[in-house]
Amino acid sequence: MSSQVHNRQVIAGSFRDPSGFLFREQGVLYRQVNRIYQDHYDQLMSSGLYDALVKRKLLIPHQEVDQTAPRPDLAYRVIRPEPLDYLSYPYEWCFSQLKDAALATLKIQKLSLERGMTLKDSSAYNVQFHRGHPLLIDSLSFEAYQPDQPWVAYRQFCQHFLAPLSLMAYSDVRLGQLLRVYIDGIPLDLAVRLLPFATRLKLPLLLHLHLHARSQRRYADKPTAQAGKMTKAGMLGLIDNLESGIKGLRWSPKDTEWGDYYEFHNYSPTGLDFKERTIAAYLERIQPSKVWDFGANTGKFSRIACKMSIPTIAYDVDPAAVEKNYQQCASEHERNLLPLIADLTNPSPGIGWQNHERMSLLERGPADAVLALALIHHLAISNNVPLGRVAEFFQQAGHWLVIEFVPKTDSQVQRLLSTREDIFADYHPQGFEKAFSDYFVIHDHQEIPESERCLYLMETK
């Protein structure tokens, strides 16, 4: 994911903006600020904008350091941003995460304009969820505001935020996955083809999506528009209208077919209590510094790790489950839990330039501990992955593994097998233990009372 410059690793996704770049040295992340950006950087720091944004948890704090710059011929400063626990990408966010990131971006733009600056880009990739808050991680995204100039990042904002959020709210929440295909946001001509007519009746969507797409088509090679000034009042009006448009977009899991499906489980109260206590005991025993919970659902068991102050990522394939989880995180101010959308049968790949601009899911690991609770049957039976290959994946993902085996006699597995032929001869506790023993040492296993399920604690060989 990085290239070498003078024995330092330059971060692969940090190459477009000539203002500077990120590099890593001895495991610490730094950002070189180039001389070309000197005036803008100084204005950010001296205008009070940096302090205002950091105070509101909208911008990653940084320190100026004496670190030698990888490109001293270009360098003005080297800064060390506060480290992030995890990098996530817009196509892994639920609706409300993308909406909160959009509103944070607009709030930053408003604050910037108040202090004579403006955002020169508005990429959703520049926002990360850090300790429960969406915040801008690119300290070089600002430039001096030039009176009468339109917002240079307007197109990017509409493509990265307004178009996908509108598609998720009005067409289908799964269309957020288009962001994985279109790394610079969803093309507006495509977005408006997929949006229903009702979106033309909403002024912000009419202006910033439908007319915007038409304007792009009309002026792509026909420069016939009347020129004019974009006053600051116009700029503020634009930002306010975008904000109204984003705030007006809503999507709720209650409106979907999933309903209360996620409240359903087949444990007795005793079994559920035992499962929770066993997971907590395993985590106490291994003391992981970070946990990935695969198939986390709405995060019931992720919260065991979260409450032990362990940074935890709760992955689930279902955007409704992730939405519910995120809303609970937001309402309860949970700083250590980050819910994300991930389909383990097709996890986030490395995308962008040379496939290295955005990291694959596994590149962002390994975690210290992986939780895989009531998940194995979805991978081995629904997706036909041999148990050995499932074990291999978990070994790549983390050092410790807390995994629950769900046998064929369990009602959930019976449900999966009811519509297909049972071709899974090795899918039984002995077959499971044999397959996983090739990759893990099994330290402990506990049968869940009043259930046929079993919990295992394993360590990578």
Partner: protein, 84 residues
């Protein structure tokens, strides 16, 4: 070339101008259509914001604070006042 020249530029000249803006930091293509649309919408959107603020002031004159106002996320300007 000064950005102020935009106000006097024809459409064709304007596209040339767009290409020469931010010569040092213009790593992002603003898109001609996106650029021009903002200019065309500026008066409308500025007016809408003016009206919104006007009605907000009228509303707050008659009703100092409503429960709905309190539940909304405070504006940047309001937060700024709190921050000072």
């Amino acid at each position: 070339m000064s950005i102020f020249a935009l106000s006097h530029a024809s459409g064709r000249e304007m596209l040339v101008l767009i290409g020469t803006l931010h010569t040092d930091l213009a790593y992002l293509d603003p898109g001609s259509g996106s650029f021009i649309l903002q200019i065309l919408l500026a008066v409308l959107l500025a007016s809408l914001l003016f009206m919104k603020n006007f009605w907000r002031k009228v509303f707050s004159f008659f009703k100092k604070s409503s429960p709905q106002d309190q539940s909304e996320t405070p504006d940047v300007e309001e937060e700024d006042q709190e921050g000072k």
